[in-house]
Subunit: 567 residues, 2 copies
């Protein structure tokens, strides 16, 4: 080996090995030339599973899905230039939804930057504030110092991506030609020292300060509100706190708490009524996780802004767009719950009973949905899922329908969505990334979302993945029919409705997927139960006007029944 | 109108009107809620043509194509969140290829940022160094000062995007709910003052300094090398300089100079031979535009790094990845040529004749390509184009084939490509943007490029555009077969070949395009001559191994004939 080749080989091998030994299991690689040394040394590593995706935007979201599912950082690798810019949407989403990603971009060496060389953009701090940590790497060298440095950077990348709040990190690797390393069997040929181990403590509550917080909550009829939560330990701690205090849990579909029979699941319907909102006014609120999906619930919180409102966030964020927080508590959520269990006592039984009966009344109405509108289909979709299934839900309407129709305690399912920035981009790929980690994924999304990331399907074909996806095709942006824009007839269909007239049977043919058109709820359930390899697209055509009307009728009826239950 | 609605209406109307009166003709809008006030006031403006595109990544490139074709800044508008992040690839390309874009992102107001509100990412300086100019706008107000400010920002955005070197600018608009303005007939109802006019001078050459430069060039057997040039005035000035000096022009296909019979067009073939390279060593070089596509030509320039090498760039860049410049001259290219025409004299006749005969010999070989390999198909493709057609070429192999087979003076065509960062992303959309400006576009690209932006086809369907696109489907990344990676059999197909096995007949069905499978060169010519509305996909299946072999044989033969011509 000449000196250059030796540098390329050892430097990158030590880096890849450091990532793996620090906990990385998956890498998503997009083809390119400048990334050749890193790609070959990843492909060669016996303990790194690689996926090849041509479209870097899809690759970014695929890695996001893998990381959401595995709760471990996933590596992205691409060539130089706009390839790297295509990761931007997934990086932005990962930042806000706190998903660990390690983005590796390949670059020209310093002397070929800003001099008109091909495939060269300014990649330094390319993702700006969306990346938690950025490092411009040194050129490959095989000295002891350089190899120690590169191993340390690998370990740091893993650590930084995971440290609370987790998120995306970016390392930019300059490479000089020739790009080929001597990869074959390299990990058997050389011995690579273990990288530095990085350890970070948890933010633990201080007993004296917690006692002070408890004083403002003790003896009150309170509520626990749980938004998106990814750790199951947090979910079970919240349940214990609810049991101890008797405070009802309003559980967002992404809280992973809906599988518990005891939580409130129909508040999005009955909290649309001012009388109910006032009758059920809590004396205090403790909130965990991201902001819940339900607009009715957020308006309820905003209405009652004059009570102690405690937000617990170990990630150190400021999740309070409602400006209602009285206490912002940055400690480990599970530890907070354990502490509060010892400090708080039980509230009045009537308080919990009132919530339960109102919730029960509204739920029984919501369960009545029937037919081919999106609400009814959503219920059939949920009924058709096998035990242990995972849902990946689109934004706009699907997540709201999930909120309405995912009834507490009926099923053991895991729920995923991209609720950081709530984009309609990258959904197919995120769902496939979750499937690639071994979850049994059932995705559900609208036609515009599916279209936006239809490219993502190639990942399934090239990496032999399986998933079922239900498209609720209402020919355009369904959510706008529920917003004030709907009244602007003059430009509505062109600017907001955007009917694209797409039929995804052809997308199925393009990407070798199976395709079934859904015409009834019963058929949907049947199709969900078919065992099939590969991707199955289930497409149901719905009508925006009918969807809106049926939803509004259901909500009205739910409110009516809930009011009766209140008396 | 209440005060808020009045603010939303007037502020945005004054801004849109200022853009239009400063020269903007086109806006590309992606549907969203937060962007509602701006979208409605754009849609309503009688002199602004709008296009609706669902996928913001495609929208970015579509705007890029529109701006390339019209040489005028094009406006992009999207909602908040990852939507804005999807513009990143097109913004990065626009920065390097110097295309004026005005990116308008909608945002939450300050009190809803970094507080966990939905669809909210940090959009300040979102495009980092890729944007030439960034402004965080004030919240809408209708005071005289605010309206003057917003008109001025509109005019400045246009000016900044166009000032040399032109490129993308970014304005971030915070909007509070409710979002609906009172748009109907607004431009007839109110009178909006004209915005400030901004005027910028040209960088003109200083006569004394030019005289000094001329001294190092005078009396020498020199060469003019022309890379990508968009202004036709520059192209004709370069032709005059060549006529005056007798210096041959080596004209890149994107120089817009290939329609002139006098330029060298086959240098990429004959400059692969060291003997020829040395025999044709120039005593000086003047270079215009971006770095040429031909690797043979760049190696030729690098080999002869010991001569005066003058780079003229009115855009003030540093387009010299070869590190060969002796003079970097930042003045208007046309003015430089005019000045040099008066200062330089003619070189020896034999110099020009030698280049001509070598070029002639190589060209006659390159013209022999025949069959269904990509080189031969490319020739048929070019033969089949009507007069005045525009080519949009993919990167990697198509641009190189264009370089090989676009023979000088045979056709009056305009050539476009995304040669800033040379990405394989956004090509379908860029081509459609050029078509949307009225050019008769014939795009040609590989299967991976077409796949990467297959979403872009929806723009054609939704905005009724016409274009023909030839896909050279070699089932994967064709260019890697020409690179050193080709020797790495162990991981080649998985990491570099990436055969996706896509058949685009189904993409045609999905997006309502016409589809023709091409099986012979004659059929290709016939199909190109069919008059058709909408998008026609012409797909030819080729073989990577055969393509590589045929190219290599042609180059070898071209070199052989060129060497004979040299004697």
């Amino acid at each position: 080996m000449n000196n250059h080749k030796e540098n390329m080989t050892y430097y990158n091998a030590h880096f890849v090995d450091s990532l793996v030994r620090s906990g990385v299991e998956h890498a998503v690689i997009s083809p390119g030339s400048r990334s050749t040394p890193m790609a070959l040394l990843m492909e060669e590593h016996p303990r790194l599973k690689t996926f090849i995706l041509v479209d870097e935007r899809s690759a970014g979201f695929f890695a996001l899905g893998l990381a959401k599912s595995s709760q471990k950082p996933v590596v992205l690798l691409c060539t130089s230039g706009t390839a790297a810019a295509n990761y931007m949407p997934a990086v932005a989403e990962a930042k806000i939804s706190r998903v660990p990603l390690i983005v590796l971009t390949s670059d020209r060496p310093p002397e070929l930057r800003d001099v008109g060389a091909p495939q060269t953009i300014d990649q330094l701090h390319l993702y700006g504030h969306a990346a938690k940590w950025f490092a411009e790497m040194a050129l490959p060298e095989a000295t002891e110092t350089a190899l120690h440095y590169v191993r340390t950077q690998g370990a740091r990348a893993v650590f930084e991506s995971l440290s609370s709040p987790s998120g995306p990190v970016h390392l930019n690797f300059p490479y000089r030609e020739p790009l080929l390393p001597d990869y074959d069997g390299i990990y058997n040929r050389i011995s690579i020292p273990a990288p530095v181990r990085l350890i970070s403590g948890k933010k633990m509550p201080d007993r004296i300060i917690m006692d002070d917080v408890a004083k403002t909550l003790r003896g009150k009829n309170g509520l626990i509100i749980a938004g998106e939560i990814s750790k199951s330990s947090v979910a079970s701690a919240i349940l214990s706190l609810s049991e101890k205090t008797g405070w009802p849990i309003l559980a967002d579909p992404l809280s992973q708490l809906r599988s518990n029979k005891s939580v409130m699941d129909s508040y999005d319907a009955f909290l649309r009524d001012d009388e109910i909102k006032d009758a059920l006014k809590p004396a205090a609120i403790i909130r965990f996780g991201a902001l819940p999906v339900s607009k009715a619930l957020t308006l309820f919180m905003k209405r009652h802004h004059d009570i102690p409102h405690v937000i617990v966030d170990s990630g150190g964020g400021w999740r309070d767009p409602l400006h209602v927080a009285t206490h912002m508590i940055h400690v480990d959520e599970a530890a907070f719950c354990i502490e509060m269990c010892t400090l708080l006592n039980e509230s009045q039984t009537e308080w919990k009973t009132a919530w339960q009966s109102v919730n029960e009344a509204a739920r029984s109405v919501m369960k009545k949905a029937d037919g081919m509108d999106e609400g009814a289909l959503f219920q059939q979709f949920l009924k058709g899922l096998p035990d242990g299934a995972s849902i990946f839900t689109g934004n706009s309407m699907p997540i709201r329908d999930l909120d309405s129709f995912l009834f507490a305690g009926e099923q053991r399912i895991r729920v995923h969505g991209n609720r950081g920035a709530n984009g309609i981009d990258g959904l197919v790929s995120t769902a496939l990334g979750i499937a690639a980690n071994g979850e049994n994924v059932y995705a559900v999304m609208g036609d515009l979302s599916f279209f936006h990331d239809v490219n993502g399907l190639l990942a399934a074909k090239m990496n032999k993945l399986s998933m079922k996806v239900l498209i609720l095709n209402n020919n355009g942006g369904g959510i706008f029919s529920y917003l004030p824009q709907a009244s602007e007839e003059k430009h509505f269909e062109r600017l907001f409705g955007t009917p694209a007239g797409l039929k995804f049977e052809h997308a199925a043919s393009l990407f070798d997927c199976q395709y079934v058109r859904i015409t009834s709820g019963a058929q949907l359930i049947e199709e969900l139960n078919q065992e099939r390899e590969g991707i199955t697209i289930l497409e149901a055509f719905t009508d925006r006007a009918i969807n809106t009307e049926v939803h509004r009728t259901l909500w009205k009826e739910a409110v009516m029944q809930a009011r009766k239950a209140l008396l």
